[in-house]
């Protein structure tokens, strides 16, 4: 288990991460979310011991993360690159050895992963000869080659087409099933929602919400209702603070503030017109994110500190 314990980091006078704690457990994925500049990359670099926290500590299975330990971790950085003119198989072998793999083992594993990722016909290629999607695959392979017990993925889906997004998701699921702990940082809410059991949202260096995604959703005070869009939705006026989200869809989405019971709304709706659909839904991760991260924060987000 990865424990991030009350870590803080400031660059000069700018706070990058403030008192952040979370756990990443084996066999689970934790989503690290937040606008640009919130401190995600700094957090990842502290986990990898590239940056030292000003206070707090990072432990893996109770042991403080050091050079030897982090060598076993897998890391897919957001900014990716390969040596343009070095054969991809040789690069992967090189990265594998830097992570302490034996040559024979690394070769076998590369061959197996090339099969998984449909790259078998590219064994002799150099990155300049590959499409962007295939380069991304090679980088993903570099991150998981040495069977890391902890895998850190920074925007792993960027640059992939939908088919390859599925390939990567499957690969992540397989690693998790094999017992890896995964930290996933992404802006793609649907994918985080699909893969992550736990989340941690950071805004302006502070953790604003964290925990099990299901529990967060269930304890969410607001209720969301999806119902047939009626010719007039004016029946909602009797419920203070309730508004249908503007939409041209035949289905209306309505957010109910705490204290407004869905049953009351349903009764009023039925008397207002023909209701074919009425369901109470959990908030989406997107709703949760938007609740905690105010748009002006996102707009004020600047480039992440080193």
């Amino acid at each position: 288990m990865l424990e991030v314990n009350h870590v803080s980091k400031a660059f000069r006078n700018v706070k990058a991460v403030s008192d952040l704690s979370f756990y990443a457990r084996e066999g689970r994925v934790i989503g690290l979310l937040g606008p640009n500049g919130a401190g995600k990359t700094t957090t990842i670099r502290m986990i990898l011991d590239i940056l030292q926290p000003d206070s707090g500590e990072v432990r893996w299975n109770g042991r403080r993360v050091d050079a030897q330990l982090r060598q076993t971790f897998g890391y897919l950085p957001e900014e990716r690159g390969l040596y343009p003119k070095m054969k991809i198989t040789e690069q992967l072998l090189f990265f594998g050895r830097l992570h302490g793999m034996e040559v024979a083992d690394a070769r076998q594993r590369i061959a197996a992963l090339f099969e998984t990722f449909n790259l078998t016909d590219k064994l002799k290629s150099t990155p300049v000869e590959l499409s962007k999607g295939n380069q991304q695959k090679v980088q993903f392979i570099a991150a998981i080659l040495h069977r890391p017990p902890l895998l850190i993925l920074d925007e792993p889906f960027s640059g992939f087409d939908p088919i390859n997004v599925e390939v990567v998701k499957d690969a992540v699921r397989r690693l998790v099933a094999e017992g890896a702990a995964v930290v996933l940082s992404s802006h793609r809410m649907e994918q985080v929602e699909e893969l992550c059991e736990d989340i941690c949202i950071i805004d302006r260096s502070y953790p604003v919400v964290k925990g099990n995604l299901r529990e967060i959703k269930q304890s969410w005070p607001d209720r969301f209702v999806r119902m047939t869009r009626l010719a007039s939705m004016s029946f909602l006026d009797q419920f203070p603070g309730v508004v249908a989200q503007p939409s041209t869809d035949s289905v209306a989405e309505i957010k109910l503030p705490p204290g407004t019971r869905p049953a009351d709304v349903l009764r009023a709706a039925v008397s207002a017109g023909p209701v074919d659909l009425f369901e109470v839904v959990e908030p989406s991760l997107n709703d949760i994110y938007l609740h905690y991260v105010k748009p002006e924060d996102a707009a004020a987000g600047k480039d992440e500190a080193p």
Partner: protein, 408 residues
């Protein structure tokens, strides 16, 4: 295999396989072949020397003519006695060795009355210097020996006798002295090119890894200090390989082309070759760590070229000083300069190869260089930590100072 070795091996193999390296090596080898076929030495040395000469003539008239002919580019001091042969008087020899004159020139008449010369330089005499002398002496020789005589005598006059005996005990023959200086120049040039070229490779390697973002992946697995060490060691080993290829070529060509006889390469002292290697490594590591630090701070190749400018100037200055030292290796100013790190690898090598340098000076130069490399490596590693993951605008000087002060 440890991490640094893996990094160094990749650096070495990938570069050795690159087209640039292969072409560079071939061009270098061809260049050496070409140079070897041109007269190896003399033509390299440009510039006039004002050498102070003690002149001893056979008679007043000839002495006056010689004095006038030489005055143009030499400082001539006519000795108040006349020569009876090519020998040098002990007291004059002492004056030359002590540095009062750069050389003594004894003009004498042989048994047949023909004019001959014995030249006694103490500094490693360049062939150019001797050629200038010969040219100057031709006029008076023709004037005194050639007047209305037979063709046979005319031929003799044109091939007037001129012997060189170096009074510096280091050189046994004139050829050896000239060769030594020519070779030292050649080796100095090699050293200069090698230090610049391989040093810049290190800087460029850092920039490349930054600009193609490989650094991001690497930094998850290895420490910045290991990256730095792997790069410098890998490129250093590659540099040695290339230099060895060049040296082998030079040797083979010299031996095959028959230069072997006229340029006895075997007379190059082994110590010179050892010093060459020692000072190459000192120079390479000094400049490579500097270039690596600069590379870590820049994010584009253009930026690094600007910052490299300054370091390249230092090399050029070191090179110029070394050229001076070829002529006069023990000038006090050059003695002090040859102790300074960054300058010492070239200058001290030149001095060691052309003169007898006290051990304490060599030791100090090497010691200071090692200290410099140690400090520069620590600083470069710090800059590396801060700089490798930094893109965008280059750091301001203030930020650089802050980075250097940060605990590692």
């Amino acid at each position: 295999m440890n991490t640094v070795a893996i990094l160094a091996t990749r650096e070495y193999l990938e570069r050795a396989k690159s087209r640039g390296f292969i072409i560079g090596t071939i061009i270098g080898i061809l260049g050496i072949v070409a140079i070897s076929f041109i007269s190896l030495i003399g033509s390299f040395l440009a510039g006039q020397l004002t050498t102070s000469i003690a002149l001893v003539g056979p008679d007043a008239k000839t002495t006056k003519m010689l004095d006038e002919a030489l005055r143009e580019d030499h400082k001539v001091t006519v000795q108040p006695y006349q020569s009876r042969g090519p020998g040098i008087r002990p007291e004059l020899k002492k004056q030359v060795v002590s540095g009062q004159y750069d050389a003594a020139l004894i003009a004498y008449r042989d048994a047949e009355g023909s004019l001959g010369f014995a030249y006694y330089p103490v500094k490693s005499a360049s062939l150019e210097d001797q050629q200038t002398l010969r040219r100057r002496l031709l006029q008076p020789v023709i004037a005194t020996d050639f007047k209305g005589t037979s063709a046979l005598k005319a031929e003799h006059a044109l091939n007037f006798a001129f012997f060189t005996t170096n009074l510096n005990p280091r050189y046994k023959t004139a050829a050896e002295a000239g060769l030594a200086q020519g070779l030292v120049y050649f080796l100095l040039l090699l050293l200069y090119i090698a230090v610049i070229m391989y040093g810049i490779w290190v800087g460029q390697g850092v920039i490349e890894e930054k600009s193609n973002r490989v650094m991001e992946i690497m930094i998850g697995a290895v420490r910045p200090g290991q990256l730095l060490a792997g790069k410098i060691i890998g490129i250093g080993a590659l540099a040695l390989t290339q230099m060895a290829a060049f040296a082998l070529t030079a040797l083979t060509v010299l031996l095959l082309a028959g230069h072997g006889a006229s340029l006895p390469i075997s007379t190059v002292p082994v110590s010179t070759i050892i010093y060459l290697l020692v000072f190459f490594f000192l120079g390479f590591f000094s400049y490579a760590t500097m270039f690596a630090g600069i590379g870590a701070l820049a994010s584009k190749a253009e930026d690094v070229q600007q910052s490299n400018g300054l370091s390249v100037w230092v090399i050029v200055v070191a090179y110029m000083l070394s050229i001076f030292a070829l002529q006069d290796p023990d000038k006090p100013f050059l003695v002090w300069a040859s102790l300074v790190p960054l300058i010492s690898p070239m200058l001290m090598f030149t001095r060691v190869a052309t003169s007898t340098v006290p051990m304490w000076q060599i030791g100090t130069a090497i010691g200071l260089s090692l200290a410099f490399i140690w400090v520069a490596t620590l600083l470069a590693a710090k800059l590396y930590r801060v700089g490798v993951l930094m893109y965008g605008k280059p750091l301001s000087p203030k930020e650089i100072v802050r980075a250097l002060r940060a605990p590692s």
